[in-house]
Symmetry: C3
Subunit: 160 residues, 3 copies
């Protein structure tokens, strides 16, 4: 990589709308400046990567209940504060549209286009009961060792 | 900067009393040790920088509702856990006074005196509907690119 | 330290089951790869280090109330989302057992065995009203300056 290229990693643990917004804003900003960016989605953060529709996947009762209660993909995420059963998130999206701020879906698409690496934490997938086909295309699967390897090469590492 | 000076950045995303406390404790600790410190306040974190009184500002209905429901400044922040409608935060402040721990307001003043750079995220201000005159004096306004520039120069970067 | 050894610090601010899980997974992963790892437990994170049983300790009314309401040790931690009065955490532990993921207690024991340094933030202990004998064995006590000293030596620093 050229001398002015540095690397950033974002461990996206949260699946909240607002924190996802922060994560993609940072990721896309850094990628636009020429940095290598890796996002490692763990735990609730996996919800950001879920396909919006229902996907056939073998789950036990607990996993099925969790999967049903958790949001499916960027359009369904909730605000961590003042969500008011979704009203808060909806209002915020409207404000964003009016202010010409990209939607979360557009941010995700832009991240992919800019070559941001999207990794899904395999241990979290096991605990949450997600199979690979439940996540969107373009996601790679990795463990904590891979994340740490990426973080070792980066000069900015955030846990979001 | 001298060889033993390093830089720290804190991205203060949360507007919770307890996380603000952590952020300013780290910022002031690092500044006291001679480090350059930049705090970048985004999203809920902007509430920490709000002026306590009511400020005339043009807002649409949604922004006005959000502004009214969110805490105005350090004295009004809530605990992320066990807030109990403000009782928890009040009790914690009392304990802090008795243990001779600085109040959040004193920590903020100290940060300014020590030259900690306070940046407010302009994109977040747009989404939240905050105008510059609603935030306290001594705050600068910056975007994610400025934050990333600071983070690139720092050896410790935290997302709080 | 050998050239391929690097250092990591984790500031564990949260006392949620899921975030503790993430913290210990990262800590143990890094330690297994030969890194020096320091975990600095502050605020709610101190609950992770509490002894499970009741410990005699002088507390005022507020501190006693807080101590009673907060979870005592790894076995009592709650999920940050979908806890449902403990049902969520219990179900998640069952899934983890079935998937052969270590329990949090085993992760904590492994961290100790691997030489992960466990520091408890003394300022937080004062505010929360915890005395040293309320925390588990093997914990050292340190302030923010010590944390910053460790972070200065590390190449990855996360706030969890």
């Amino acid at each position: 990589m050229p001398a002015d290229t540095t690397k950033k990693t974002l461990l996206v643990f949260s699946g909240d709308f607002d924190r996802a917004l922060a994560a993609f804003t940072i990721a896309n900003g850094a990628a636009a400046m020429g940095d290598d960016v890796t996002m490692f989605f763990a735990f609730w953060g996996l919800n950001i990567l879920r396909r919006p529709g229902k996907v056939a996947a073998q789950k036990d009762l607990v996993q099925a209940a969790f999967a049903r209660l958790m949001p499916r993909g960027v359009e369904r995420l909730r605000l961590s504060r003042m969500n008011f059963c979704g009203v808060g998130a909806t209002l915020m999206k409207r404000v964003m549209r009016r202010r010409n701020v990209m939607s979360l879906q557009e941010m995700l698409d832009t991240a992919k286009e800019q070559g941001v690496k999207l990794l899904a934490c395999t241990m979290s997938m096991g605990v949450m009961g997600f199979s690979e086909n439940e996540l969107i295309d373009g996601v790679e699967f990795a463990g904590v060792a891979a994340y740490l390897g990426e973080a070792d090469e980066a000069n900015v590492n955030l846990f979001i």
